[in-house]
Symmetry: C2
Subunit: 259 residues, 2 copies
């Protein structure tokens, strides 16, 4: 340790830790371990660069800590990756009684196109809850979840920090009708006749497509277009999750024998 007597104590501690880490890595490798995980509180981040020099890289970081990994196994790393998608949810709030659909135009866009209100899911938030919350925040309209209508997957999406985007459109039932829209987010907001939304060119391809899907459902029954939601129990955790699929007739749900 004499070589550190002329410099500061922090560098000395880092040297000792890394020296031990390098030895430990050799040991773990000889024992057949395949990976090392390092969890580092943000205020201890001085250990990150030295760890990187031993081959560690970031797995993820959030708020006040980071996690680094070093793969010791054969071939490329088989460690599970971190979250790959942001989830955006839009609400198609449709009033069957008046055939009106709630649409907005975003502020600060190059083209003023009619679309459904929506936004990113908060951590831990269910799809339907995001739709109802975003619709209320943007338009002041209260609504209830009815079904899931459509899913879009998009990669290299601007604003997703290089990650992918899953965009889900839900059918919502309005519980209030007086618009009080957010001036920060929206330029316009209105109840539009569904036929007009189908006809307009002043909209996005996905909005136009979902408007046609809604018209199909309005005319021939929403069961033609809906994915319904049900809660089922998870096997290992005992928690419940929400599952969306086409409505399954009761006789198929309950059947236990056949041929």
């Amino acid at each position: 340790m004499g070589r550190f007597s002329h410099t500061n104590r922090k560098l000395q501690i880092i040297f000792i830790l890394l020296n031990n880490m390098a030895t430990a890595i050799q040991q773990w490798r000889s024992e057949g371990r395949i990976a090392v995980w390092l969890h580092i509180p943000i205020l201890q981040s001085r250990f990150i660069a030295p760890a990187a020099s031993l081959g560690f890289c970031f797995h993820h970081a959030e708020s006040d800590s980071s996690t680094l990994t070093l793969w010791l196994g054969e071939g490329p790393s088989r460690l599970p990756g971190y979250a790959t998608h942001q989830v955006g949810v839009a609400g198609a709030v449709f009033d069957e009684n008046t055939r009106k659909i709630l649409v907005v135009q975003d502020r600060n866009k190059l083209k003023n196109m009619w679309k459904f209100p929506g936004g990113l899911s908060e951590p831990g938030e269910d799809i339907g809850d995001t739709a109802v919350r975003e619709v209320f925040e943007e338009t002041g309209i209260k609504s209830e979840f009815r079904s899931l209508l459509s899913i879009r997957q998009q990669h290299t999406n601007p604003g997703a920090f290089g990650k992918s985007d899953m965009y889900i459109i839900c059918r919502l039932q309005p519980c209030s009708f007086t618009i009080n829209f957010c001036q920060h987010e929206c330029l316009r907001c209105e109840w539009m006749d569904l036929n007009d939304l189908v006809k307009t060119e002043n909209t996005t391809p996905i909005t136009s497509r979902v408007a046609r899907l809604l018209l199909y459902g309005y005319r021939e029954g929403f069961d033609k277009i809906d994915l319904t939601m049900e809660e089922l129990p998870a096997v290992y955790t005992g928690l419940f999750y929400k599952l969306y699929h086409r409505k399954l007739p009761d006789k198929y749900k309950t059947m236990t024998l056949m041929d």
Copy 2:
């Protein structure tokens, strides 16, 4: 700078940078800026802890760099979050000619339950491609994407690093039939009669539910259960994305006027 003459140059540089940063933050705040983003290469991570002491926290980190943010605006941060979901995809490979469905039992589980082969999406990978790849890696069976059948959203999922999980089940058409399963991942793999999968108790609730959905589709037409996929153009980027929803009759797709 005299107070640093007795210590090392690195600490001096950090002091200068932070002093400037603190001054810069005051300046930016007075100019009405609402946020600061710091992108730090992993080998420069010695700047992270000092930045944290000024109020910065991790937004995300991946591979060889981290990104920190400092919110300067009023109220809680309105900065967009990082990816919140991992996406898992399973393939329900069903052979209509023989009424057989491809099922596996995972290795290293407490209970040996029949389920569909599947796994996590790679970054930038489309849903259908994940299903086909995972089925091939686990079972040796080649298949083609047919439709999306079901979506599950789950929070507090073990193995998701505190993030949420979106699990999607696709219907696939087999192109080969000789099983050659991965001994690392699977304990068993077989072509099972769909009726037997519906009847067995030795399966997960979601597998049982999707087996019933498939039986409904097999008996009454897959159009009853399928979400079909189509590519549409994105408005701003010029890229294409994949959109999944119930099949829309042609007359609704092409209609331009009505009432």
